[in-house]
């Protein structure tokens, strides 16, 4: 089942300033969808549109849980938890009171407060006023509020922003646990691939308001492999070019070496065999792997 679906999602703050340019998001049930993009690419705008915090002025199709958001707002929001940018907290109240406000509005059983406080490791700090909380504690309390109603979908905007490495690991583990044990679908936005690549199952990469990649994380890995090249230096580069070119098409030649598009491990063995059989000495054969971070930067630069 598709939990989030948008068709040709567009949004503009002013007439000539199109922030989102036809986004077709598809988030499957049970997935952890990483929504990546540099700062200012339109991630928060997309999330705000998904939650009805911005008007859908272009009348794009926004469906959550298979229903049009506009017509089923209450039903959709009752199954959705969210944390947008900094958590929305009443700093003059205690952590418990902040949870109690949402609990009363959402009409949730009172024992859920104890449960979420335990999950987020905030039990001992629940009586403390939020103004005395650290940034990490505030972030965890924001998550506790989002989790209070046992949502089926959690939309988190930059959930690890500003957290120290320990805090980032804790949130990551929590997301994985909730996804695995409770089957919660996550839609996480981030501007850093390294922050979420360890937990996501699916990725959407946003650049200048356009979705430049969407698919399973393994698809991105495959794309990464496709962008890898083999750099070969031999005793006769011209002859090697012709030999390899008879079998592998994507080949270029520079002054000192040949470049072949990497396909798989067997391809390397085949090239070696072909060159040895034609009496060409191989001086160097190097796989140039494009790491995901560089790839993400390249994709979003386009």
């Amino acid at each position: 089942m598709t939990i989030i679906e948008t068709q040709n999602l567009e949004f503009a703050f002013s007439k000539n300033d199109l922030v989102l340019k036809g986004l077709n998001l598809k988030v499957e049930q049970g997935s952890i969808y990483g929504f990546l993009g540099p700062n200012g690419s339109g991630k928060t705008t997309t999330i705000r549109l998904l939650l009805g915090l911005l008007p859908n002025t272009k009348n794009s199709i926004i469906k959550l849980f298979g229903h049009n958001f506009h017509d089923n707002r209450i039903n959709i929001l009752s199954k959705t938890g969210s944390l947008i940018e900094q958590p929305s907290l009443y700093e003059h109240l205690s952590g418990f009171d902040n949870l109690e406000i949402t609990r009363m509005i959402r009409n949730v059983n009172k024992n859920r407060i104890g449960k979420v406080l335990e999950i987020l490791d905030l039990k001992t700090a629940s009586a403390k006023k939020v103004k005395d909380y650290s940034l990490g504690m505030k972030q965890r309390l924001g998550l506790a509020i989002a989790l209070l109603s046992e949502p089926e979908l959690l939309i988190l905007d930059e959930p690890v922003n500003g957290l120290d490495p320990n805090g980032i690991i804790e949130i990551r583990e929590l997301i994985l646990k909730l996804n695995k044990e409770n089957g919660i679908t996550f839609f996480l936005s981030s501007h850093l691939l390294s922050e979420i690549e360890k937990i996501v199952t699916h990725l959407g990469v946003l650049s200048n308001g356009k979705l430049v990649f969407q698919g399973e994380y393994s698809d991105l890995k495959e794309l990464q492999n496709k962008s890898a090249t083999i750099h070969i230096e031999t005793s006769d580069n011209d002859k090697s070019f012709h030999v390899i070119n008879s079998r592998f098409q994507s080949l270029s030649i520079s002054n000192s070496h040949l470049i072949v598009q990497y396909q798989n491990k067997e391809q390397i063995a085949t090239i070696c065999k072909m060159l040895v059989e034609t009496d060409i000495s191989i001086y160097k054969m190097q796989l140039q792997n494009n790491d995901l971070e560089n790839m993400f930067l390249e994709i979003t630069k386009e």
Partner: protein, 231 residues
Amino acid sequence: MPAFVSFVFLSKWKHLVPQQGHNPWDDFTEMSWKGMGFIYTPFFIVLLTCLFFNIEHKSNTWKHIFTLPILKSSIYISKLLTLIVFVVIFYILYIPIWIGCGFAVGLIKPQLQLTTHSPDYISLFSLCFHSFISSLGILAIHFWLSIRFKNMIIPIGIAVLGCIIWIALYQGRAEQITYFPYAYNYSTVNPPLWLNLKKFGIFPQHEIFSLLYFAIFTSLSYRYFIKTFKG
């Protein structure tokens, strides 16, 4: 205000000893309510409304509220009703404190005869009711302004300007004061004798205008809250 009036009564008590047959509570009522009318509208109502909304603006909690499964109209109505309840609570607290202060002054200075007389409770409750009605216009205006502007200095600035204009109109005995909502509460507790206020049933003209302001600005703020306001 009751404490301040009590202080005045205690320090000037020799001038305030009632003559035979005169109820000392009438003077105590007049002084207290005039002072309250002067401070209540510009300071209490405006500050209450501004601070009430500032909690959400400051905590950045609108985005959380709007992602909860409740209708925006319900949020609006609950905010408006809470504010009205706050104002009613003000009267509920003001009256016993005021009466308590009066009796305390009477105990300290028996010559003032405040303990041997009692206030006119019917007039008191009538005054509360009319004071509340005359405050509704300003409440709705500042309710709208507080939704419209995140910076609470703007509504407070408008209120200060409104009060300056009201005092100028009052001092200049301008009849236009009838149309000026910042003057309504004071006009209720201390009706200007130079102004011929028409009455419509139990309501003087300015209270009818207060209700009209309430209706107009509540409609405006409701429309803005539902259609445009995103927190």
